[in-house]
């Protein structure tokens, strides 16, 4: 229901730690009419320039805390709130080259009342400044 708003236009860039580029990051929202607890986020899939990212290389951050996707599955208190922009970081030595990149995002959430586990997708072309 908010598919086209999942990938945010702002917040795309490389991540630098200790002088090294260790990956890239972007801001993402849930395509859902309410927030949900992190244990119900089953997967956040990223494909960059056609190349699927390994689940182990994805990190999720909201309000100053960071989880791996496996850690999120047993996080029973913290939530991804309605419309909240979370940072999704992909560990990737040297990050992304300056220029235009095609980013594909899928989010799979477990919603108690639905008779299926929905996966919702968004694709955007975003630019890493030179």
């Amino acid at each position: 229901m908010f598919d086209k708003y999942m990938i945010c236009e702002d917040g795309f860039g490389n991540v630098v730690e200790g002088g090294q580029v260790v990956g890239f990051t972007f801001l993402a929202r849930l395509p859902y009419y309410r927030g949900i607890g992190l244990s119900m986020v089953e997967d956040i899939g990223v494909i960059i320039d056609g190349e699927p990212v390994s689940r182990q290389d994805v990190r999720f951050s909201v309000r100053g805390r960071t989880w791996t996707l496996d850690e999120m599955e047993t996080e029973y208190t913290e939530r991804w709130n309605f419309g909240e922009k979370a940072a999704v970081t992909v560990l990737r030595p040297d990050g992304l080259a300056p220029g235009r990149h095609r980013l594909q995002l899928s989010e799979r959430i477990r919603v108690s009342y639905l008779p299926f586990v929905p996966t919702t997708r968004d694709t955007k072309e975003l630019v890493i400044p030179a």
């Binding site: 229901m1 009419y33 309410r34 927030g35 244990s39 599955e73 477990r110 108690s112 009342y113």
Partner: protein, 336 residues
């Protein structure tokens, strides 16, 4: 003749597009609702309040009541979710489900809501186990009767029987008017065509819906027509929707205390093309309904790919329709 007292309200769910994008604040939404005369306010707290159902700062409740007082609005219903699939590897134990519902009952009471909405998939035993607690907080627990379920479905009959057996006056129903979908919504059809459904298949599905053909036959026929992907998706919506009859509410009027006035589109001439509100209001009057009918706009997801969304204008049109159908006295000419 039954006496009725149909009051107008709005679920803040209606404004999800603008609230999601942070284009409107909670105060903005309460203000515009009051301006339309939609004075009863319903909300999904997991949408309205970040971090709920974790404990909220007392200032959240103070602000809520200040807004209600400032704009003359009335809290009606807190819609709760009960995430019984919280644990991936195991079901949520019964007692934990009951405890979770009690958190929502307390929250509804703090908001001043006389009702709290339970989703339709919740086990009636959980609700019955909460009835005494709900009564102690003076909050009624209402199961939402939502398509594809309906008042003659065995699952809803099971709830009705459990409520009667409990003897509690604090368990009831909140019907969603989307179950009375008498025509395939034009905004759905147009979205499916934009997604690639061939015109002749889209026309067939709409005609088959109006002819009340069983969904499984329609899906099979669309497959035979060569339909794939979005065409099957469009046909499959018939599994989840049907034109049940508004008069089926009449057997349950003593336990219907709030209503979701679901709509997908209000045209400029104040018509919802797919849900028969004239018949619905007639039935509610016949049944002596005394309660709120809360606008629930759900059209944004069907148009946002191609058109700007104006949820406030959509709700305003539905409220204008309700004024006419309910027959509210017009404001006296020259009144201050």
């Amino acid at each position: 003749m039954s006496t009725y007292d149909i009051k107008r309200g709005v679920s803040l769910y209606s404004y999800q597009e603008e609230y999601f994008l942070r284009q409107k604040s909670l105060e903005d939404l309460i203000k515009v609702s009051a301006e339309m005369g939609a004075n009863g306010i319903e909300l999904i707290s997991e949408q309205t309040f970040p971090d709920y159902p974790n404990p909220l700062d007392p200032s959240v409740y103070d602000n809520w009541h200040a807004l209600m007082a400032k704009y003359g609005t009335t809290p009606v219903c807190h819609d709760f979710m009960l995430d019984y699939k919280k644990y991936k590897d195991r079901p949520m134990p019964f007692e934990e489900q009951v405890a979770s519902c009690k958190v929502d009952i307390d929250h509804a009471a703090r908001l001043g809501c006389p009702y709290t909405r339970a989703l339709v998939s919740i086990d009636p035993k959980v609700l019955v186990a909460c009835a005494d607690y709900a009564e102690s907080r003076n909050v009624r627990l209402l199961i939402e009767v939502h398509a594809p379920l309906h008042f003659d479905h065995p699952w809803i009959i099971r709830h009705a029987e459990a409520f009667e057996k409990s003897g509690s006056d604090y368990l009831g129903f909140l019907p969603d008017m989307g179950m009375f979908l008498f025509a395939f919504p034009p905004v759905w059809k147009e979205k499916f065509i934009r997604d690639g459904v061939p015109q002749h298949i889209a026309d067939y599905i709409c005609k088959a819906y109006e002819d009340r053909v069983l969904s499984e036959y329609v899906i099979l026929e669309v497959e035979k027509m060569g339909g794939v992907g979005p065409a099957i998706g469009m046909a499959t919506t018939l599994r989840h929707n049907a034109a049940f009859e508004p008069k089926r509410m009449l057997d349950h009027m003593d336990r219907i205390w709030n209503i979701h006035a679901k709509f997908y589109e209000m045209t400029e001439d104040l018509v919802e093309p797919s849900i028969p509100y004239d018949e619905i209001i007639r039935v509610l009057k016949q049944g002596g309904y005394k309660g709120y009918i809360c606008s629930e706009y759900e059209g944004n997801r069907w148009i946002q790919d191609a058109f700007p969304v104006d949820s406030i204008e959509q709700v305003r049109r539905q409220q204008e329709m309700f004024k006419k159908l309910i027959g509210e006295p017009q404001a006296a000419v020259g009144a201050a």
